[in-house]
């Protein structure tokens, strides 16, 4: 019986997150335009874009194979499955011991499907974009994994029901662990913001899709329905990645019993996601240009991963002492 409730919950969450994430990208475009003294598109513009893409003719290149068509669907499916493991102001629907690994795996798998679809188009521009995407993927994830695992380890020391579950983030948080961990927490805020920017590929990290250099790179061959699906999936993924950052670093929620408690917490969570995205996406992409791929990889390993190591060590020391 509970599995049916969970499925209904997943469908509702999917609808909610689709609308919210598209809405945020409308707000984002408006805000960027205002920062540059433009008027900008209406806030609902992403919805019009989506509907138009869905109604357009879809062109399949001659050199494409079956993965070209399957990849967008698989990507969206992975992202929807990921929603069941995402903390959205309350513990994830399928929260179990160790579900953080499933979360990271699915988050990476969505990117991997996109890469596979892009490669399958047979376009050399796509191939360059995909190669850059892989380089970024490998460089950005270790910093995040180290940060998340150390935070979860620290929380599990306070005694939680399910260690290494994303649900445990709502039982205790890292700010309860003492002054030394506060320093680690500030370092981890930097790490997670940098990771988020590289995950959603804005600002410095808008490299695989660099329009000016390699003509849209990854998405060059996609059109019509498939492009619409990919845009939607990327938008949801953006919301999910930000949810992780919010849940790890700023998990404060209100305690209201019953269904209205869930809804209130979801609203608070959405607000926090919008604030984090405003900094990591809107501001960051307005004030910075893109790096070269070598610079970005270098930055992720030497500045971000190193900071993650320092943060994790401080956290461990803070918990032990």
């Amino acid at each position: 019986m509970s599995i049916i409730y969970e499925l209904i919950g997943l469908i509702l969450l999917y609808i909610y997150v689709s609308i919210t994430s598209l809405l945020f990208s409308g707000i984002d475009r408006k805000l960027v335009a205002r920062m540059q003294r433009r008027i900008g598109p209406p806030i609902l513009q992403p919805f019009y874009d989506f509907l138009k893409l869905m109604s357009k003719e879809t062109i399949i290149p001659n050199t494409a194979n079956f993965m070209f068509r399957a990849a967008p669907i698989l990507m969206l499916a992975t992202v929807i499955a990921l929603l069941a493991y995402t903390p959205l102001g309350f513990p994830p629907l399928f929260a179990t011991k160790g579900d953080i690994i499933v979360f990271i795996y699915l988050l990476t798998l969505a990117d991997f499907f996109l890469i596979l679809g892009v490669i399958s188009s047979g376009s050399p521009y796509g191939k360059i974009g995909a190669a850059r995407e892989v380089a970024m993927l490998i460089s950005r994830e270790p910093a995040m994994m180290l940060g998340v695992f150390s935070v979860m380890w620290g929380i599990s020391k306070l005694g939680v029901k399910r260690p290494f579950s994303l649900g445990s983030l709502y039982e205790h948080n890292i700010w309860e662990l003492g002054p030394m961990v506060w320093v680690a927490g500030i370092i981890l805020i930097y790490v997670f913001m940098a990771w988020l920017a590289s995950e959603i590929e804005v600002g410095f990290f808008n490299i695989p899709e660099a329009e000016e250099e390699i003509a849209e790179g990854t998405l060059v061959e996609y059109s019509g329905r498939y492009l619409g699906i990919i845009k939607l999936a990327e938008s949801i993924k953006e919301f999910i990645a930000t949810s992780l950052v919010v849940a790890v670093l700023f998990p404060w929620q209100v305690r209201i019993p019953g269904i209205e408690g869930y809804i209130t917490n979801l609203m608070i969570h959405t607000l926090k996601v919008f604030i984090v995205l405003f900094i990591a996406k809107t501001v960051f992409r307005t004030v910075t240009g893109r790096l070269r791929i070598t610079q970005a990889v270098n930055l992720l390993w030497t500045r971000v991963f190193a900071a993650s190591v320092v943060g994790a060590l401080l956290l461990v020391l803070g918990v032990r002492i």
């Binding site: 050199t63 194979n65 499933v102 795996y105 798998l109 490669i119 047979g122 191939k127 995909a130 892989v134």
Partner: protein, 510 residues
Amino acid sequence: MTWLPFIIIIPLFGAFSMPIVSLLKGKAKEIWATIISFTTLMVGIQVFREVWNRGTIVYALGSETPFGKANFPIRIVWEVDKFGAIMVLIITLVSFLAVLYSIEYMKHDTGLEKYYTLILILELGMLGIAITGDIFNFYVFLEIMSIASYALVAFRNDTWEAIEAGIKYMFVGSLASSLVLLGIALLYGQYGTLTMGYLAVKMSENPTIVAKIALSLFLGGLLFKSGASPVHMWLADAHPAAPSSISAMLSGLVIKVGGIYAIARVVFSIFLPAINLATVGWLVIIFACITLIVGNAMAVVQEDMKRLLAYSSVGQIGYILLGLGIGMVAYGSKIGELALAGAIYHIVNHAMMKALLFLVAGAVLHELGTRNLNELSGLAKTMPKTTFAFLIGAAAIVGMPPLNGFASKWLIYESSALFNPIIGSIAIIGTAFCTAAYVRVLFTFFGRPNEKVMRAKDPGALMLIPMFILVIAIILMGIFPWQISDKIMIPAARNLWDITSYVMTLMGGG
């Protein structure tokens, strides 16, 4: 009434009747081989169920009991415990699929009556190793298996590489077998018996230096057969040179039955009372770590598809040896049990996925005539079904969650991380290399089709069916990983550890 003897009788009958059956022209020999291996599969399933329902089977050749008028076993005994039953099941399954696959794959070759005879003998040898409880009988079956595989590696004797690989494999392989034989001779001289369970009894009464020398000879010979790292060189040549159906059996079965299973059996069922298990375990772990890194790292740089798969097999053997080694050092603890269960599970999983990958490689080779990865760009366009099978196999071997490789690797990671974090991180590094190797192949397959590939098409149904049976098995096993682990693999690991019951079933079960 036990079904056990038929597991040897049927392939033996099939192999010996093959020259006569092949006097009939046409497809008679293919059909005969398929029938025989299918029947063996059915008997294998039956033996598996029998062991699972009634516990370890002891079967004495020639009489009701292994004892004559003596109070110690004098006859050859076969003793199948749960681990042996799992091996029997997987051997018969993969062999049947390989035979089915050969019908279309081998149709351009000549001398097929010899081919089918040899493939049945190979299966027979492996089954014999899995069921025997007699150490000399084990050697005989080991040689049956080895000689059949030398002949099958060099089967395409009009190509230079087959002969080269066959000679290399035969020279070093017979040296390794002779080490095993020397070990058996020493044990017989010291203890005067050849029955495994009774040897364990004698050895526990009187552990001598001779036993230790014999054990080191066994380990040396059997690590060679399993393709552990310093002695993996035969494997990297033999697998690419053999016909792909044979590579699937070599990589999926021979290295595990003749190597891993034999090591586990010899150490746990004979030498356990007489030796310090931690020493042997650490020895195995050291070899495992070297194998893990060398095999997977070498797989990354290969340009020949089958050679890549062969090195990847070496790497996966490293995982299995790691689980086995931890199972020895941490004998009797929860960690050791998990590790051993993970090793047994990975034997089964790897047999299926590597068989699948070699069958895919065979299909590519059959359609395009090249194994060079640089020429196979864009295969997904013209051979979509084959590429899909490869995608599943590659994802399973890397250990992606909805597929079967995940659970077995997880057990090995978890136990090695709990056992010693350094060893755990070595295992992770090995997987990173493995992932890199397979992602590279996938990128080639899904890339822009080149001209050579444009002329290819998917192989016929007889080659696709075995592949898709394996794909379905991999997915199904991936859906119920922990049930399989709890119901089958952990009991098998406990059964393997429990030497007392192994001996008691032999001695008291008369």
